[in-house]
Amino acid sequence: MALDAATRTIVRDGIAVGVATGAYGISFGAISVASGLDVWQSCALSLLVFTGASQFALVGVIGSGGNPMLGALSGLLLGTRNTLYGLKVAPMVEWPGRRRAAAAHILIDESTAMTLTRTTRAHARAGFLSTGLSVFVLWNLATLAGAIAGDSLGDPRTYGLDAAVGGAFLGLLWPRLDSVRNRVAALLGAALALSLVPVTPAGVPVLAAGVVAFGLGLIGREEVAAS
């Protein structure tokens, strides 16, 4: 099937997003091995989990000495946002059964963003697939490269890789700080987590901060209605 001009543009944009996003897979790979995972575990994370924030969360908890399963739980909680994306993407791409099951793996921030702006099913599919697949390929290659590079660096603190983790999380958080409600939620979550650090095992404070989301979700009715 020959692609029309609009579809070609969509595919080109999707690949561009993939290249840009894939590039920071290098930082994930390097941070992952600095946190105590080996190269294979880092690559398995990018292949199997394939959603950046959850992967950073898991290695972050392990790096701070927390139980790896608490890291997995933090990653799962962050992964719930992909469920929300799926609710919006599914009616646009309209894939049946097995194709939908395959497409679900590349349902992430970027593929969602490049799908929701389309007006036809064909264009939505083109945006979703070109972005999702190019991010997948480049993210995984970059993870491998970053993990091998990180492995040969020696003490990660010398290169500030421990500080890079905080920078990475801030970079992921930044675009979400676009409303007063979200800024308040962020401050409360950070404060609650820090207050729990001296009295709970590593990994628990971050999970416990999730309570703030539920608390604000319960009382936030008026604010959402007003916006």
């Binding site: 840009a20 290098i26 995972l37 575990q41 994370l45 199997l48 394939f50 959603t51 924030a53 959850s54 950073f56 969360a57 898991l58 000495g65 399963m69 890291g71 997995a72 990653g75 799962l76 962050l78 992964g79 992909n82 469920t83 929300l84 994306y85 799926g86 609710l87 993407v89 599914a90 939908r100 793996h105 500030g160 421990d162 500080a163 905080g166 920078g167 999380f169 801030l170 970079g171 992921l172 958080l173 979400r176 700080l177 939620a185 409360l188 979550g189 950070a190 987590a193 001296p198 095992p201 590593a202 404070p205 971050v206 901060a209 999730g210 989301a213 539920f214 979700g217 936030g220 959402v224």
Partner: protein, 102 residues
């Protein structure tokens, strides 16, 4: 244990994606559920920033402490205000901390 965590997180995250692609949109019509789901990434990422930057491994377990990582975060903040791309933000944070430790 790390391998088990990788597998659990991988399978779980895939099922969360598949659920979103498979269940009808109505499921999230409940406003409390929708707001909680919206706020969850914000709260968790903020908590992760705080914990990654301000927690050190003390003799009796994790403790709060300030070191070069906080300067790295400050530099990352400046980079974000200047609309730097993600990879630059991460590099700036690392580089700042590394230079301070020389």
């Amino acid at each position: 244990m790390i391998w088990l965590a990788v597998l659990v997180c991988g399978v779980g995250c895939y099922l969360l994606k598949l659920a979103g692609m498979s269940v009808p949109d109505r499921v999230l019509e409940h406003p409390v559920l929708r707001r909680t789901a919206d706020l969850l990434p914000v709260v968790l990422l903020a908590a992760l920033v705080a914990v990654q930057v301000l927690v050190t491994k003390g003799p009796d377990g994790p403790a709060l402490g300030i070191d070069a990582r906080l300067a790295g975060l400050g530099a990352a903040c400046v980079a974000l205000v200047l609309r730097a791309p993600f990879i630059v933000v991460v590099l700036v944070a690392a580089l700042t901390a590394a230079l301070l430790r020389l």
